[in-house]
Subunit: 158 residues, 2 copies
DNA sequence: AGTGAAATTGTACTGGC
DNA sequence: GCCAGTACAATTTCACT
């Protein structure tokens, strides 16, 4: 199951390219990594089959849809309502503004990553859909400045 | 610039599918949304041209590569070293374990999203590459339980 | 103008070396 | 792991609502 397939430098090169742009044709990818198309295709097939590449997804920019403000909302649940965690998670995921929900350790229980139009919109979400939930003890907002800086999964020298 | 192109329900349907799996063929996508291939292709082309779809990326699962533990590291910088923020960000992105860096408001200045092999590995990163940096005042770790639950960008009823 | 159908060009993918 | 063939899909063109 967790048989971490060991990747060679060419595999990492392929992953580097595909994490940046997976709409590249196999032909162009093969050229960039210096492989014939059939070999390159087989490499990609294996990376998918072994679960290293878990999927290929279109990235939608919320800012292009008028939702240019992103934030993390750190939520603490009431101790005696922890059994309602699943209810909370379901409600959080049902919010159309939600991008991701992280169940975390530490003083807070959940991090919600949301994309909203402006601070008023954010305030409305928190007041109407989070702070008023009985299982929620506290919600702390962290506005995200600029754009999130996203890196790729890279090899870690063991 | 920020001309939020108004999308109809079919566009949202397309976005919903492509955010889940962008490796679907245009033909299959057209069938699922009930459109001829040419119309569907044109819709997708426009979504890309207007920046709504900012890219197509392969999703790499760190767990399949032996990095099954993820965490947020909330970092607070020293007030009188804020001008070194760019240096810190560069260092954070250079860490191969880093997935994303968020510059946030609130008591903390940065959230680092990292993927590591285990808690010892995480400890090593923090001690060797974060806590010892002169501009870093404090680093608080939030382990991420389970898998992050990721949603898609969806329409928000205005 | 944007949608529906068909033809062409190119690539993805499967056999064999 | 590399080469060549076959089938299929992406993309353009044209007619229509």
């Amino acid at each position: 199951m967790t048989e971490k397939a060991s990747l060679d430098p060419v595999d990492w090169h392929i992953l580097s390219v595909l994490q940046d742009d997976a709409s590249i044709t196999n032909k162009a990818l093969a050229e960039r990594v210096g492989l014939p198309t059939s070999s390159c295709h087989e490499r990609v097939r294996r990376l998918r089959a072994t679960g290293v590449i878990s999927g290929v997804k279109a990235v939608v920019d919320p800012a292009a849809l008028g939702r240019g403000l992103q934030a993390f909302i750190a939520v603490r649940l009431r101790l005696h309502r922890r059994e309602l965690a699943e209810v909370f998670v379901a409600a959080a995921l049902a919010l159309p503004e939600t991008l991701s929900v992280y169940n975390v350790s530490g003083p807070e229980d959940y991090f919600l990553h949301v994309a909203v139009t402006d601070s008023a919109h954010l305030q409305r979400i928190i007041v109407d859909h989070l702070a008023t939930r009985p299982e929620v003890a506290h919600a702390q907002t962290h506005l995200i400045f600029d754009r999130p800086l996203t890196a790729t999964v890279r090899p870690v020298p063991s």
